[in-house]
Symmetry: C3
Subunit: 366 residues, 3 copies
């Protein structure tokens, strides 16, 4: 709908919502209330944004369920019970996309043994390796790379410069943002003799010193398996497994610059926000939300529905349903309490010093 | 000047500084004092580096303002009041660059509707999309990508493999390091019903548990706007806005592997160091410096002139002028104090245990 | 050996290990015990994995030194004193690779002045710049970039989309995972007058406020030097030095999304795990292990054999041999102690409040 116009009634109908007022007004795009032109639908999805509507020129707006659109000076409106959810469908309608173009660009290098479904487009200078299979309707962006024997489901959007290595299996409706790298080798090395790290882990840090040893590489023989309806962010990386595949469940979304280590298993409908790092062989459940810069140690598990706050460092298992924060991660209530205590620490030191004096005097007086 | 030689006098004149001694000596490049050859200018910009001059072969050096160049055994010198600032101009003179070559490489794929200014060079296998406009004198490196309708000002240097998506607007003298990805979609999803994350935020963590729900995608309809004189580091990412553009002010520098989320607004002359993550819709002021691995929550603000220390986690607003450190961020003085307290905690526990004993005895004695 | 089969005896001989039972059985690939087919070698390298062997179909397995292979229902086995180390050689034998193909792909753009050793392969749409030299037997993956005057030793594997800029020098057997960017410019700027950051550092945070100043760029004139047997992870970045090269020693492995700043010096056989950031001019010793998301300030040093735990923030020098954890980094024992103390803080506050009451009563009673 980027260059098209639609009536307010048509937009509402597409979203399964109610349009009120003059529903024949043509809208072309959306905008913030203060910036909207007369043919744009203003987005004022909470009462606190309504005041900005008169600052712009919009005649129509998307509003909350019981908004008094008439009092806001509008000629028409779409009312939504959960407007943020309605924005999902609306933004899909209005998305002008990246303009990659259709068809197979003549500069793309596609191995003759690769199999492309119906209506797959491949951008300029993309490379598709031997025996790769790309599902119907998928878009492979300019300069993207799809490796040997990799399988991608229908309706994928692989943006510019994405790298998907060999033997990766991805479900339907996959989205990969620019520069995402899927299928690099795991970071896995071993020393001939027991290493300092192994000693430090065994002794909780008492003993780490090493004689100089070289690291021998363990090759990653597994691939990566990603479910349906997943998204991977710009310059994020997902490593292949050592023996079996690294696995990402259905409906899971991974943000920019996230690192998913080898052998990690992530469940369904989990969100992993920007700059998170998940170390090797860790298992993460369903409906988990890891806020930005969360770090998770290797070989542990995070249960279903766990939520972490920004910058949380998870060094041990977290049972299902917990909300965690801090370094190392604590339950959010404990963290808030602890943090308050920390800020009052200087006063506590003074209190204890005074007590010592008072008690010493009492003892002396006896 | 990479392959050229200049007299000491000419170098000093170009920097607006004073040359002393034999100013006719030819110099060709710069080096650390101990490594410099006879035709290189040694960089000894603080007294503590002067001792290394005799270890090398330099006849000339850049020194601090009142340096006794003669006593250091040199034949000539450039004296600078703020040598580190002088190094800026000097390093620009001496930079041999990347050798990308001039002109349009025949393997580049440039849409016929793209408009390139005078003296733009485009490297091998670069892609420039429809209606893109690139300002005069810009360098588009090998394998770089410039998307549909994107506008870049004069004098840009876009290094190898940079990805700039559709509808991005960038000012003059822009520099993008290899692999930077500008214009990926924002990480923005919504559940049909109120999600566990929304509940946990509302209740400060008491209640996060979710029934399984799928995440619906909110498409990013906005672009990215970047001012003049900005730089973006290797493999850094800047996401497009949801409705309006994500915005970066003039003179702002962003380091490697930084993540700038959707709708973020960054002011002028701000430095964002390596591995920082700024979550969606946060506003950052002018002249801010965020040290490496600083994380900033979504929907907050950081005032002008704020400075954070390495690894600071910012979970709430910071007023202008503060120097912050820690998890979560505190004023640096408080953090230093708190940290001292933390280290003395074991002693405090012992003191309180002793006090309890003493008081209990006193009470018993009564 | 990906498509080949070998006898159990041959595999054991290649690894310098002992095969027992029917050593004529043909094996083709490895797998986890429960997933292994009859022609795969099951990996059950610790007693706790042995129980899964009957769940799969393997007739052979790699086991620990004194395993009772016969009791496990196997027909043959390889016994290894340190099985994880044996896995290194075994995984190299079994690695099917990325299938990039051999020879020079006709779509690659190779400058006529570049020098390629014997048996170098160059993938589709790769770019090799002027005067670059690539050692014998190296693999340059699809869409990779090797810059002007860069030298890479024998036996390198440069994966898809790797960017190596100008004047980089790399030793033998180098591996670069997809999207790694080596040789971006350092993040180095200077203001005309003393900046707020300089003031804040000098005063430990008391004074940071700035008058608005623009940042002048210091160009990076140095390159990057990397030793033999190094590996750099997916989308990791290593910046070039300001005057001399940034340096990585022999046998050092760098994981995904790691950032190595300008002028950093890293020793030999050091492991830097995912998402670590090392700020400019810091020196890191030999046999160091930095766990994921470790951050290290600029201009400090970390001695040999140091180990950090996940998410450690290193703000000051660390002597050799220490095991560190926390924000800021403390010795691991102190951190564990401090963390215990933190959790007991609320009780300590209650204890002190009670003590105050008791002492106040005692004082009143006197």
């Amino acid at each position: 709908m980027s260059d098209q116009t639609h009536t307010l009634a048509d937009v509402a109908a597409a979203l399964g919502l109610e349009a009120v007022g003059d529903t024949t007004i043509q809208v072309k795009g959306v905008n913030e209330p203060a910036l909207a032109s007369a043919d744009q639908l203003a987005l004022a999805m909470k009462p606190e944004f309504a005041a900005q509507i008169p600052e712009g020129k919009a005649r129509t707006a998307m509003l909350w369920a019981d908004a008094d659109w008439h009092a806001l000076g509008l000629q028409g409106a779409i009312l939504a019970g959960r407007p943020r959810h309605a924005l999902s469908g609306l933004s899909a309608m209005m998305d002008p996309g990246q303009g990659y173009g259709s068809g197979i660009h003549p500069s793309a290098v596609i191995d003759p043994s690769a199999v492309l479904g119906a209506d797959v487009s491949v951008g300029a200078l993309a490379v598709i390796g031997p025996e790769a299979r790309i599902g119907a309707g998928s878009v492979v962006g300019p300069q993207a790379y799809i490796g040997w024997n990799t399988v991608i489901g229908d309706g994928a959007v692989i943006h510019a410069g994405v790298r998907i290595g060999a033997r990766v299996t991805i479900g339907a409706r996959f989205i990969a943002q620019p520069g995402a790298a899927i299928g690099g080798d795991g970071f896995s090395y071993v020393t001939p003799e027991i290493s300092g790290v192994e000693k430090a882990r065994a002794s909780l840090g008492e003993e780490g010193t090493d004689n100089a040893q070289q690291w021998a590489r363990i090759h990653s023989l597994g691939g990566v398996t990603i479910g349906d309806d997943c998204e991977v962010g710009a310059n994020a990386t997902i490593d292949r497994g050592s023996v079996r595949d690294t696995r990402i469940g259905n409906g899971t979304k991974i943000d920019n610059l996230v690192m998913i280590g080898h052998n990690v298993v992530v469940g369904n409908n989990t969100l992993i926000c920007g700059c998170c790092g998940i170390a090797g062989s860790t298992r993460i459940g369903n409906n988990v939300v890891l806020a930005g810069q969360t770090g998770v140690s290797d070989n542990i598990f995070i249960g279903d529905n766990v939520i972490t706050g920004g910058g949380t460092t998870v060094l041990s298992n977290i049972p299902a349903g917990r909300v965690m924060l801090g370094y190392p991660a604590m339950k959010m209530e404990s963290h808030v309490e602890t943090y308050k205590g920390l800020r009052r620490l200087p006063r506590l030191f003074r209190d204890v010093a005074e007590l010592k004096k008072a008690v010493s005097k009492l003892v002396g007086d006896q």
